[in-house]
Point group: C2
Chain length 357, copies 2
């Protein structure tokens, strides 16, 4: 018998139209050669940004039934797990139980957990979801919170380097998360001034770039000196693309899962398996976003009306048309996902002074 082939279990939302949740994650994983088992936590018409949306939310008991039958049928032998939006604490607890079972039966399971809680200072799940995610963190291999989710999970406001260091430390040490990736932090002056010149772009100004940070804990690195040595940090700046796009985080997490190979030796000096995977995920996500943005520019005037809450309320189709024009160009850009037509990889750079700058 040869090695068991890789098999991903993806648990997240499903929408009929557009590319968020599973629709943003599964196709890229398949393109990159993974068999993906797909659990739909909701079955909605479209994402909530359209204003009007609806369908069916899977209940905790429905999810439990599916997992029980799969276990009975010996279909729970996944090598990788990806979880995204899961509505409500009860359903999330069912996923927690499953993740614990998979982790126990296969300690080398690679689990990318995207703790979907909210964005830009606003929680969009019920508050009782937070403690469930906190319990789940130690089950993960990699987590991909945005900056607001980092704040929420660690109860730490990110306002300076000290608080950022503390938050990363809490995730690694209190919650035992081996790998943390914060995919997009606004590059405020306090953050920009802490970056080494090799990371900060020469043309930096506020609101022109986002920062992506990855951190591998010492205990997760094969060559670490001791458990107490600080985590290895990498970072990279990504030009901000104007406009709001949905599903970007879901795509990024899926690509990260696809490209993470913990046992392969990094090709680039100073790189880690995590930083290499982040480099790939970041590069491809950005390439898809550029294609999406370019496509949106070719639309008719009424499909690219700017956000205006008053006008949007008076005519809900203004919003709908704008949203439609900004759905990720995943199908058109599928070659990019396969690595074709990517001129250069945005390599994550080692951020040596992170712990003492």
């Amino acid at each position: 018998m040869c090695d068991t082939p890789e098999r991903v279990l993806s648990i997240q939302s499903h929408v009929v139209f557009g590319y968020v949740g599973g629709k943003a994650a599964v196709f890229p994983l398949q393109c990159l050669g993974y068999d993906v088992d797909v659990v739909n936590t909701v079955n909605f018409s479209n994402h909530s940004g359209y204003g009007r949306f609806g369908g069916h939310k899977a209940t905790a008991s429905e999810l439990d039934t599916i997992f029980e039958i799969m276990e009975g049928n010996e279909l729970l032998a996944h090598t990788r797990l990806l979880t995204g939006y899961i509505p409500g604490a009860e359903a999330l607890s069912v996923v927690e139980k499953l993740a614990a079972k998979l982790r126990k039966s296969k300690p080398e399971l690679i689990y990318v957990l995207d703790p979907v809680l909210g964005d830009s200072g606003r929680l969009y799940v019920a508050p009782d979801v937070i403690p469930v995610y906190q319990r789940m963190l130690p089950l993960s291999t990699i987590i991909t919170p945005n900056w607001f989710e980092v704040e929420t999970l660690t109860k730490t406001e990110l306002k300076d380097m000290a608080s950022l260091r503390r938050a990363v430390q809490i995730l690694h040490e209190e919650y035992n998360v081996p790998h943390v990736v914060i995919s997009s932090i606004p590059l405020k002056p306090w953050l920009a001034s802490a970056l080494s010149p090799s990371i900060l772009p020469a043309d930096w100004q506020e609101n022109s770039y986002l920062l992506c940070i990855s951190s591998s804990s010492a205990s997760s690195c094969a060559n670490a000196n001791s458990h107490t040595s600080p985590a290895t940090i990498h970072a990279q700046c990504v030009p901000l693309i104007q406009g709001y796009f949905s599903g970007v985080g879901d795509l990024f997490s899926a690509l990260l899962l696809a490209h993470f190979h913990p046992n392969s030796k990094p090709e680039i000096i100073n790189a880690t398996p995590l930083s290499e995977a982040v480099s790939q995920a970041l590069t491809k996500t950005h390439a898809i976003l550029l294609m999406t943005h370019a496509q949106a520019q070719t639309l008719s005037v009424e499909e690219k009306l700017p956000t205006d809450d008053e006008l949007d309320e008076a005519n809900p189709l203004r919003k709908t048309r704008r949203m439609k024009g900004r759905e990720l160009a995943l199908i058109k850009g599928q070659d990019l996902i396969r690595g074709v037509g990517i001129p250069h990889v945005r390599d994550m750079m080692k951020w040596d002074c992170f712990w003492h700058c």
Copy 2:
């Protein structure tokens, strides 16, 4: 503005594990460049062949809500429609209403309707589904019934050339179906003896080949002489691969939809847009099946135990393991779907004497 890009609406079953329904259809369509909007009529753990399966069935009202919201959001502008397994007459009626609406708003809509009723003499839907499918037939562009579904829809037992001709005629003339594809008819002696030597393989014997027949009605062909001239028939024999594979019909219908270009001029003499699409779908489906079969051969002994109803009942995992080993190798075979590594296309051959042999 350039041409509206192609967009498929796919309505069929979803399973977490394995490749049937939407899981067999959507990825191939995406690989071939189509944006696909995916409606899941059920969300089950795995297909029913495993013995144990379960999850949630979408109700008629859930489906209706999704379509209504999509309409309100101007998201029902599809150029192509694909429908497969839809449980129950009530849910199917909702899809009928939608198909009628799409057809009315876009007369050039390409609708591939797979009337999923049963197989090999056994109905696996409730009998009240049959009249709904009969009402839906005139809405379709292409239908892809198996021989049993042809019998059920036309109330005609296929036992000789006369009954086969009658059934095809009923579909074209009573139900106004422009294109009929019967993907796999057992090649019994009465059928084999009616085939021209160019279609019947020299090594033919009973149970060694299946026949695929396609029929484009005269009125659907641009160059037809009159409405009453008979339909254009093509056929091709496909070697039977031993063992039962699931999702093959779903994959075939999706590939057929992807490759059907009614306004392009066929490259091959005597071909029609339908026969060319069937040639592609047949070739790629067969290539995936060969890969699946080869993969199944490499499995451990207990994953390829032969079907034995008594032993299977005593140990349900016998069946489960066999099923698992026979899931379509869609991901591994994705290059085949893109047309890479296909040594030659199994061209459908014109069956000139169909109407009078």
